[in-house]
């Protein structure tokens, strides 16, 4: 039953993928190098954050089906306008006498004609205002946060009526128990785990659900943004350092149980480790989700490069298979992130010296 749902979900995702819709139209006239370039462009475009919520584009008429999102710029005061003002990057937005252009999903300050200047390395030299826009990723985070809040508030409220969860809670409570019994308690220990539960639970459900949105046909890619994974890893880092007990610092700067010269050698290595751990967290999540999106989109792209029904069938099967793998990865990455976070918290509050 569950497998059936997964299959129909993946099929739906494939059929209504905005990328799929778009490529079909270009297939009619273009040759294969055109398609390849376009696929590459599309994948790169998809991996980046966007300033409007793009659903799909009808290439025969050149119409973009999307809805605008608010743009907030810090450029000598707060500039606020809707992204529809850019007309999908085709026009220059004028606000309070300043001109802004959208170029490869980045907003630059320009003159009235929208001139973009490049240096010899083809980097844009125009000034870029601080961009606090509600981008597609921010918008997705908002929606997912609201959904998560409503879902788990329902779980919390359910206990007012009965000690056993009903309905939706029957599905959600095992998630809470999973984080507590499989992640928090084994890694942090019975004594200290409770104060970290809120963070671990929130990180787990947030990453998992936001990863799952990346597999919908909406083409959302939140955890494939380095800024998002950086924010998450930074929180883990700060909580670890703030809650660390003296034993933790002693193990970093003056490792007990080893000779003095070793202590001196180990100190910088251990100190480096303090930063490498959250850095690895950040890169792991970012790379896994980005890679998953690239692979899936490339496979879908291959369906249009091959003009052979046998190959198309084979790639369709492979895409289906990898989509299911990605469903697993979505959960796995949330689990690994939470598990390693709990492990680092465990190091921070460890009290005994007998683990060498």
């Amino acid at each position: 039953m569950r497998l059936k749902i997964v299959f129909s979900f993946v099929l739906f995702a494939l059929i209504f993928n905005p990328f799929t819709v778009r490529s079909e139209h270009s297939d009619e006239g273009g040759d294969s190098t055109d398609i390849r370039a376009e696929i590459k462009e599309d994948i790169l475009h998809h991996l980046q954050d966007a300033h409007d919520f793009h659903l799909f584009t009808d290439e025969t008429t050149g119409t973009h089906y999307s809805f605008p999102l608010p743009i907030i710029l810090l450029d000598g005061g707060v500039k606020f306008f809707m992204s529809s003002k850019f007309h999908h990057g085709e026009e220059i937005a004028e606000v309070d006498g300043n001109y802004y252009a959208l170029h490869h999903n980045h907003i630059y300050k320009t003159d009235a004609e929208g001139t973009i200047n490049y240096d010899e390395n083809h980097h844009v030299t125009n000034a870029a205002p601080l961009d606090f826009s509600i981008t597609k990723s921010v918008f997705s985070v908002m929606i997912v946060s609201i959904i998560l809040f409503l879902l788990f508030k329902a779980l919390g409220d359910g206990y007012k009526k009965s000690a056993n969860p009903k309905g939706l809670g029957k599905f959600l409570e095992p998630l809470v128990l999973f984080v507590r019994d499989e992640i928090a308690i084994p890694n942090i220990g019975e004594k200290h785990y409770q104060k970290y539960m809120s963070y671990l639970l929130t990180v787990f459900v947030f990453i998992w659900f936001i990863n799952l949105t990346g597999l919908t046909p909406l083409g959302i890619n939140v955890t494939g943004n380095i800024a998002v994974t950086f924010a998450l890893a930074l929180m883990t880092f700060i909580i670890t350092q703030v809650s660390a007990k003296s034993t933790y610092w002693k193990h970093i700067f003056w490792m007990p149980g080893v000779p003095v010269p070793m202590k001196i050698i180990l100190a910088p290595i251990e100190l480096l480790g303090v930063f490498i751990k959250p850095f690895a967290l950040m890169i792991r999540l970012y790379a896994n989700i980005s890679a998953g999106h690239i692979v899936l989109m490339s496979l879908v792209g291959l369906l249009f490069i091959f003009n052979n029904w046998f190959a198309r069938g084979a790639f369709l099967g492979l895409t289906l298979f990898l989509s299911i793998i990605e469903l697993l990865v979505a959960f796995l990455q949330a689990y690994i992130f939470t598990m390693l976070t709990a492990l680092y918290f465990g190091f921070a509050v460890e009290e005994h010296d007998d683990h060498h």
């Binding site: 601080l130 921010v138 409220d157 998002v228």
Partner: protein, 166 residues
């Protein structure tokens, strides 16, 4: 690395942090705390229920074994009591028998004695009475016979008639 840094969006970082912290505090207040408290309470309740059930089971077992011991004890006691009662009954019966016999013997003996005494008394009385009667008769006779000559001769005549001289 350079690409990662150029890809880094301060705005996205800002919003992600803000939204995540908001989500964290909201969920902590409305979801995680009530859930974890309820789950802990439920688990504690189950544990306690199991423990008390185990305790009750043990208690019952103890009670059952003590019960059977009690029953055995009662049975033994009853047996003992019965035995004692039987012995006492026999003893009482034997005693009663011997006592009754003794009493009967005594009564018999005294009765015999009494009879003997009464008998001799009666004989003595009879003797005196017979003597008395004899005297009275003799007296009467003598008086009568001596008062009337005719009658005396009649008597003698009748007496002579009665006597057969053969």
């Amino acid at each position: 690395m350079e690409k990662l840094i150029s890809e880094f969006s301060v705005g996205l970082f800002f919003w992600q942090t803000l939204l995540f912290l908001a989500l964290l505090f909201l969920l902590r207040k409305y979801a995680w705390k009530p859930t974890l408290i309820a789950v802990n309470r439920r688990e504690k309740g189950i544990e306690e229920a199991l423990e008390s059930a185990e305790l009750a089971r043990k208690e019952l077992k103890k009670l059952q074994s003590s019960n059977s011991a009690l029953i055995q004890e009662a049975r033994d006691e009853r047996e003992l009591l019965l035995k004692e009662a039987k012995a006492m009954k026999n003893e009482i019966i034997a005693e009663a028998k011997s006592k009754a016999k003794e009493e009967a013997d005594k009564v018999l003996a005294s009765a015999r004695e009494e009879i003997k005494i009464e008998k001799s008394k009666a004989i003595e009385e009879l003797k005196t009475q017979v003597a008395d009667f004899s005297f009275q008769i003799a007296e009467k006779l003598l008086l009568e016979k001596l008062s009337e000559k005719d009658k005396q001769s009649d008597t003698v005549k009748s007496a002579l008639n009665e006597i057969n001289f053969n």
